[in-house]
Point group: C2
Chain length 340, copies 2
């Protein structure tokens, strides 16, 4: 691979190069990269804004995460937050801190993944900042989106008797990470090591290339269901349930046998001798949507293809509990992944 | 000083603690910290967005920059970008990467400076992200602002015969940095070293506590002058002039004897045996506003308190040149501070 030192371009040259040929998709993007600010126009809509900081050595390990996937994921985790408000993501800004070991070609790879995610979800990259860093790669993404007035769904809208639903399945990204870390540690010092990922493609993809659940938002709209509360599952189901319970001042009962888990996730947990439900409840990085709906929407959500009923909202004094297969009640605690 | 390990609070605890008691100032801030996204409402205005990444060891040195000043400056440099579009900053998001050597009290100091800047300029802190970092402090700030339709001023609007103006004075922040670095290197290994900053307060303040030029925007409005192009001076006057010339496809003639320089800046340059004009043209971090106006606005800008006429816009084929005191013409080149 060709290696070009970033310093040969300089900061402005780098931005120009990376954003070359980018055209705006959204009518709300009036002016993108190239001035002191980007200029956007949301008309009479609400503006949504979210931001995420991804740090090498804390949030990602480049020994097994390809840069293109990392770029894709860095965008996607922000889009997921906008969908979790029942909004539509429109623009992102990207700031990068780049240490000396990265060449222009590395950053192009990273950007290729970012562009791919932007194209897939109809989002414009409208600005950012690039800088040298002392050590490692630093990625800061901010995403802006919009929602029609009254459409925004907060964490705080759940109330007693509401139904609790979650999209997709849980714990797969976490098991994918365990697999990647095992293969990396096994491979150390072995030349031309070929990890065996056959039959585990799903959990790897869930870790390396998560997709935000735009399709869930679309299905809810088609069914005419407006969630009463919603959050994306980034730190694990337990942690997110507690966020909703706290913000809405409610409790919840979640049924263990209803938690959606993929077969590959279950196999991998067995191989690692891990508790499957713990992995599904606390694994994190699922980027699924957890939401509540009114009891009267039961029939509609029961037929959903993208999401599943997993429990119900209760009065706050009942707390947040997990009802096990043998009918025991466990208090739900956040063991979610934390960066501190 | 009390020392509290950040890990005792956890990520959510830290955010809750830092944002405690923050109330929104702006009507456009519908919902701040505490959900997947902040929710804003700009009505029929244009939305402006800008972002800056500040890295320890690259952009700041905590051996001589107090954390409170750093927090203030991290906000201000973003506000400056919004004013440079002729807009009004309304919201910021702040992401922090924090290494183990920082205690809760350190981060409170940093945040105190951020809050002070937000209060001074009427801006709401509406969200962000905090994380551990492997080494050093990482600060990523995104600022959102608004402007009425047609009010936004780009870099690209300058045309032949326009007048070039700059606010305040230049080179002071750069000389302040030189002074701080000298005192730091002199102080090494000396116990209870007391640096002597008497008579140099202005250049230090320009480095440590820059103010964005809201007052310039206000004065332009009062005079009924709408700049044809505008940019903030962050990388040095030379670099910013070239940005305007490139974006507007014009040239410029700047007169050396018109470049505003403070007396303390001049004294310091002499002491360091540095070329004063080079420092003023290329020092950077001035956060002044560089703008162009129509020739017919000459009388109005001539009476401005906050800005001064320094040259004029020419046809592109004449290039960007500095006319020296002895009437020589030098080509303006960007020697601006670059982080690569």
């Amino acid at each position: 691979m060709k290696e070009t030192e970033i310093s040969t371009l300089g900061e402005f040259g780098l931005i120009d190069h990376l954003t070359e040929g980018m055209e705006s998709i959204n009518a709300s993007t009036r002016r993108g990269v190239g001035d002191d600010c980007a200029v956007l126009r949301y008309g009479d809509k609400e503006t949504l804004v979210t931001t995420d900081l991804l740090l090498e050595g804390i949030h990602f390990d480049l020994r097994y995460v390809p840069l293109k996937h990392l770029g894709y994921k860095a965008i996607v985790v922000n889009l997921s937050d906008v969908y979790a408000m029942n909004g539509t993501p429109r623009q992102v800004t990207v700031s990068l801190g780049i240490s000396k070991r990265f060449t222009l070609e590395h950053i192009e790879e990273l950007y290729a993944g970012m562009r791919l995610a932007c194209e897939a979800y109809g989002v414009d990259l409208v600005g950012g900042d690039t800088s040298a860093s002392v050590t490692g790669l630093i990625i800061s993404v901010t995403c802006l989106g919009e929602a029609a007035e009254g459409d925004v769904v907060y964490r705080s809208g759940a109330s007693d008797t509401d139904l609790v639903c979650v999209s997709g399945d849980l714990g797969a990204a976490y098991m994918g990470l365990q697999l990647l870390e095992r293969e990396r540690s096994v491979s150390e010092g072995i030349k031309d090591f070929e990890p065996d990922f056959a039959g585990r493609e799903y959990i790897l993809e869930r870790q390396l290339k998560p997709e935000p659940r735009r399709d869930v938002i679309d299905e809810l709209r088609q069914l005419g269901v407006r969630p009463t509360s919603m959050i994306d599952v980034s730190d694990g189901l337990s942690s997110e349930l507690l966020h909703i319970c706290k913000a809405s001042n409610v409790g919840c009962r979640i049924y263990e046998d209803r938690i959606p888990i993929d077969y590959q996730t279950a196999l991998m947990a067995e191989e690692f001798n891990m508790n499957l439900v713990t992995a599904a409840m606390n694994g994190g990085e699922d980027y699924e949507l957890l939401f509540t709906v009114k009891l009267t929407d039961h029939e509609k959500v029961a037929q959903m293809k993208t999401a599943k009923l997993i429990g119900r909202i209760t009065k706050p004094e009942l707390g947040a509990c997990l009802v096990t297969r043998d009918n025991a009640e466990l208090e739900i605690r956040a063991q979610g992944w934390t960066a501190f």
